[in-house]
Subunit: 329 residues, 2 copies
């Protein structure tokens, strides 16, 4: 018999950047992806979420960055809590207090850290004591990329074919090689086309979609090998190619769209310029204009300075490999 | 028996914008493309070229925009002249004077008008009296897109399978419906990756290439139907989608690259903004940052003003359907 926690439970989860992207669902309800994906969890960007189920509440309360969310704005969280309640066999409502240490909805994947932290805090608050695989499966119901944020370092999300088999697993949780990410926060405004809508468009309308899936599976194996061999060039090059092919899907969707803005174009050109100068670094982008530069730790400071000459100081952030989820008792 | 002309021959050919793009060769020597393409010849942008074969010349002389080209810079023209000499059975060298009324190598397809004009002037100067189909075949040897600049209005380049069967033909040389193009000259600097290199990269490295060919053939049929029915929306939408899928090929090539610059991104967003305001217009881009807006003549002035508020006056050019090649006697 499970017993709900008699005190608030707090979980902290870091966001991740996908080196091999998730861009399309096979099952929209269960969030089963179209391909395996692979990411690096980042130290600097995270979400901290506190949950308590309370008999006196008549509805879920969601406080996000110190503001109470409206019913419509909290819908995704409440749907997720419904799922947790169902798993735990309880019907109390919850108070959720969440704080994002990530620029929201600007392609720094705040939904990844957000739903990972929510899965961790809500499940334990509901009396469930899930192992990391099951936490990953639960996080998946909130946001696909959240599966990978349960783990630190390099993590893979295996596609699977159903709720039981689609989850993330660690590849190298504490990489000992010198890997870092310089994140350029180019536009923290809300994006126009969510990743949810963007990937649905790609699946339904891009003539390149099936070729993308095939290429991504090959990239997945290549990046796994690169991690095993600590081969930075192979990891960086494959990741950059994979990202640009994902963005080629947005251009080839109907209607076409792009997450690039003027600054993204400039930043990508600057990365290519750095490579010509002999500095090994590669870019990746997600469902927003931000550019993340994968580099070796030894070069991170030099790269940061190079970008600070063109962008603002608070727009250039250096981060390293982060740890997996932590949950208070 | 053919006799070479005893006076200079001048030809004028207009450039064209592809509505269904040519992006990849099946045969690099003969320039046989991977798919059928379709274009609109433009009134404002053209090349005028004068050719005379002269017994006293010891080498070909190529004067381009009032400057004598070096041996290396004139190589492509001289190779083309070799082909003309071979066809005509002559061995005199030629004086070529060419003037471009097109921003060179900035994606306004100056090689299309350039090699169409050269094919017209050089063949007649050499004593050949080619019909337009054979002129189109000849122009193809200089630059694939030049095949279509032999004709006015809407022209198609049928892929064919060899030198005899790969040529352009007119679809509607004098469209009576109200079609116009607003061209944004965003960067007249030489482009970094030529279309020649760019399309070779796509054919050899993009995992999306075969799906592109299939989609383009479908677009070709759709745009042909749209021209027949004077269906502007269908023509515009299909052209824009086709262009973005071509640009998706550059992103998905290895190494990835893009012809977009910051201004291109802004201009494309502005076209989408105009559509939201109810003005029907669509964009296309080629191997450079310029954006060309396909619109109805009645809207051209309004669109020109809209873009002049963000770009310079000399950067926004309005043009209509142009005529086919003309050659002096």
């Amino acid at each position: 018999m499970m017993v709900i926690a008699d005190h608030p439970i707090t979980a902290k989860a870091h966001t991740n950047i996908a080196l091999v992207k998730y861009w399309g669902k096979l099952d929209n309800q269960l969030i089963i992806p179209q391909n395996d994906s692979l990411s690096l969890t980042l130290d600097e960007f995270y979400t901290q979420t506190t949950v308590q189920f309370l008999p006196e509440l008549s509805a879920d309360e969601v406080i996000f960055d110190n503001e109470r969310l409206s019913e419509s704005a909290s819908k995704r969280v409440r749907t997720f809590l419904d799922h947790v309640r169902q798993l735990a066999g309880i019907n109390f409502h919850a108070r959720v207090i969440t704080k994002n240490f990530v620029p929201t909805a600007a392609g720094l994947a705040s939904s990844a850290s957000g739903f990972a932290a929510l899965a961790g805090a809500a499940s334990r608050a509901a009396g469930l004591n899930l192992n990391r695989r099951d936490l990953s499966r639960l996080a998946r119901r909130g946001s696909g990329s959240a599966t990978r944020s349960i783990f630190g370092g390099f993590a893979a999300w295996q596609q699977g074919q159903d709720d039981a088999t689609s989850y993330a697993y660690p590849i190298d949780e504490q990489p000992t090689w010198d890997i870092a990410v310089v994140a350029l926060v180019l536009n923290a405004k809300q994006k126009k086309i969510s990743s949810r809508v963007g990937m649905r468009l790609a699946v339904e309308t891009s003539p390149f979609y099936s070729a993308w899936i095939k290429a991504s599976q090959a990239d997945f194996e290549t990046v796994k090998t690169a991690i095993q061999n600590e081969d930075f060039e192979l990891l960086g090059h494959t990741s950059e190619q994979n990202a640009m092919r994902m963005h080629a899907l947005t251009l080839s969707s109907d209607p076409n769209f792009t997450y690039f803005n003027a600054d993204s174009i400039q930043a990508m050109n600057m990365v290519k310029e750095l490579r010509l100068q002999g500095i090994s670094c590669y870019f990746t982008m997600d469902a927003g204009p931000n550019v993340k530069i994968i580099c070796q730790g030894a070069d991170a400071e030099r790269i940061r300075c190079y970008f600070q000459s063109s962008f603002g100081q608070d727009q250039v952030l250096v981060t390293r490999s982060g740890t997996g989820i932590s949950i208070s008792n």
